[in-house]
Symmetry: C2
Subunit: 449 residues, 2 copies
């Protein structure tokens, strides 16, 4: 067992930031390799940086056309970066979940090696192997299914399977990149491709801890050992699917008199469902989202801002954070002091975290909005959409990404980065460790609201 | 002593809502009186309702031109409604502050009569008399000063003193109505009028409890009895003036290359200071705010959304609510569990209230925004500005108020009403009283952010 690096000496937040800064630098180098580009393609440093951050944060916003810029080798490099970014954050996120989860099952704890309450790098490596195996398995199955199905669309089998592989990787890691040149719009009528994509997107965005628990559950069902899902898994899953189906319903109702006016019910259904699912963090689209009306676009902004589950490949404030805020308001209106859900109480510390994360996220997006309204010539709607998409690492766009000014691109790069590492890591990066306050002051009531 | 109504049997929130619904109905009747209007003026019911709610909530948004619609009698009726609205909310707000404030000074408690912990209507009446005396005194001094000064602007002394009285009442109650026909724009170069207005606006918006305490302080300074300002007074005053001067600085810096480019430094200074002060709840303006650039307008939106002190004539989420949120984020980043400020700790309950109020306020404004983008032909900036102004009961506008559709007017009416009664009253209105939860569940940690 190699314990060359005790994690206790490196704070989690710093580890995550370190990982992403390192990974971004490597990605910039890889994407600058001459053989990664098609002949005659030249791009500016800020565009390379933008693509690197977008890829490593699996956002999918793009200032360039992937298919026109990259050679086949470049496409494989890009897939590698997406893979690395997606699996990296899943591993780190899950790892810290297991580290704090003193109360979770022994079997899950065994995923990371611990002795005398010290967590070691070896646990991290073992966990990464587990996640890697699971994700690659999902991706390969996806690639096989999609590639085989694509034989009817493409001339050669090489092209079909390359498209299938890229589509599967992009969907599973929720990267949102495409090599069709126009996202999933060519498959707007192909419900099979869309269904497979929704499944892959969901497996990537629901969070690794949920996948582990479901696996455990399926194993135990064959025996008579009772299995209890963790509060985290229940809460994040319910929120995830509520947002997906609630979002689809809202999009459907809002667009019924507009975009869906001349569409069949099954078309409208799939357009709604796919566009709602994709905000939960895929970033692929089966239509040009600008065709939606403003109210729908605002709802989509909110959905992207909320984002995916923690410890998943997605960004945003995360599903559980949103759920805690909603539960807090309900509990308050009912006059309850603690938040009770699924016969458990939510820890005060997690409530505080959720509140702070949400406010800071809104503040950061508001400042970004002020800057972009000053530097960019686009409409408020386009800018708000781009910001939510970047912060949520979603990757949907109303088409302004490549026309952003350099300042605009840098702001979006920063948002993708913060959205990716998460607001908490961002706070703890500037965490001033003070002697915790053992002194107390008397409490005094004030008037608020 | 008349104790025909024990307040304990009527919940505070219900009392406030009852008061405002009743006052709105009376205002609608008063404003419909034929002699209140100039000859030949006809207006729709929704416009009467809009004006009544705007007046009783001392917002100042207007779908009609006050000076072209009302006769002199009508102007006095309007002043009476502003007076009633402004003093009403100040009384009720202060009253509930005194009711919860078990720890505040005996002398302040004596303001409301209590026996055996029962609070009676008589205390409310006595408090209202105190507030009425104070406000009327301030208004009369203001009217005298402004009226005398206005002699140089107007032809007759009657006109000068009517203008002075209306300006003083409108400023002190932070009503934002004007009978100049163009707010304070005629006085854009008159720093004396502006200074008097800023003072009156501040006295109205800083909150009655602060005024009481300052009065107590001045009294005790002559003796040797030590006086301690309450946490509430310290917190709200510091926040109030920080927002005022911080806002002015931000406006100044943002507009330096734009609106202030060709202005003298003292002009820019007064434009900044006045427009910042007015967001703290006056709603008067010395310029057409649409001339500001987008980033400045967004900052003004935020300032209006925050609003004035609780127990004042102003609306919004209130200064203390905003202060608690900011302190919460700072405490969290420092790793402190409790919020310490001015050598006191903020009660957990007040923190919860602040958080819930802010989230609900944002949610309500977001829904209003979605509705208005669907029903109105105006820009996002104009709509966002109108919504912040209505919710903050500020009354500034980019000029779209009178062109709103009927649906739009109703949404703005609702926002002014909610902004006025406050989010907390709004929640408690729907408060489902449950048996408080003596049962507990085990706590379980989750992942957020
Ligand atoms: K994405
Ligand atoms: K006002």
């Amino acid at each position: 067992m190699y314990r060359w690096l005790k994690l206790d000496y490196l704070r989690p937040a710093q580890l995550i930031v370190l990982f992403y800064v390192g990974a971004t630098l490597i990605s910039v180098c890889l994407l600058s390799l001459p053989f990664a580009l098609k002949e005659g393609v030249h791009w500016s440093f800020v565009d390379v940086l933008f693509t690197a951050v977008s890829a490593i944060s699996v956002t999918g916003l793009s200032v360039i056309s992937t298919v026109d810029t990259f050679s086949t080798a470049g496409i494989f490099i890009l897939m590698f970066i997406l893979q690395f970014g997606g699996i990296g954050i899943m591993t780190l996120g899950t790892f810290f979940w297991l580290m704090i989860g003193k109360k979770i099952g022994l079997r899950e704890r065994q995923l990371i090696s611990t002795d005398q309450n010290q967590t070691h790098m070896s646990g991290l490596v073992r966990l990464m192997k587990q996640i890697l195996t699971l994700i690659i398995t999902i991706e390969l199955i996806g690639a096989l299914v999609l590639g085989t199905y694509f034989l009817k669309y493409f001339d050669t089998w090489q092209e079909a399977y390359l498209q299938g592989l890229f589509a599967s990787v992009s969907a599973t890691t929720n990267a949102g990149f495409d090599i069709t040149g126009q996202s999933l719009i060519p498959f707007a009528q192909d419900y099979f491709v869309q269904t497979i994509n929704i499944i892959l997107l969901t497996l990537g965005a629901i969070g690794f801890p949920v996948l582990i628990e479901v696996k455990e559950f399926l194993k135990k069902r064959q025996t008579s050992i009772p299995f209890r899902f963790s509060l985290y898994t229940k809460l994040t899953s319910v929120t995830f699917f509520s947002l997906m189906f609630g979002g689809a319903l809202l999009i459907f109702l809002l667009e019924l008199p507009h975009f869906f006016a001349d569409k069949a019910w099954h078309e409208s259904l799939f357009y709604s469902l796919f566009q709602s699912s994709t905000t939960r963090n895929g970033g692929l689209a089966t239509m040009d989202v600008s065709e939606f009306t403003i109210p729908t676009l605002l709802v989509i902004c909110l959905l992207m801002f909320i984002g995916a589950s923690p410890s998943s490949v997605g960004g945003g404030i995360r599903t559980t954070t949103f759920a805690v805020i909603v539960l807090l308001i309900i509990a308050f209106a009912r006059g309850q002091k603690s938040i009770k859900v699924f016969k458990r109480e939510i820890d005060e510390e997690d409530v505080r975290k959720s509140v702070v994360v949400t406010f800071l996220a809104m503040f950061i997006c508001f400042v970004a909005f002020i800057i972009l309204t000053a530097t960019e010539p686009f409409s408020f709607m386009q800018i708000a959409f781009e910001i939510s998409s970047a912060f949520g690492t979603t990757g949907l766009s109303m088409g302004i990404t490549s026309d952003l000014s350099t300042v605009g691109k840098i702001v979006i790069i920063a948002l993708m980065f913060i959205g990716r590492i998460g607001i908490l890591s961002f706070i703890f990066l500037f965490h001033i460790k003070e002697k915790d306050t053992h002194y107390r002051y008397p409490k005094e009531r004030i008037i608020v609201g």
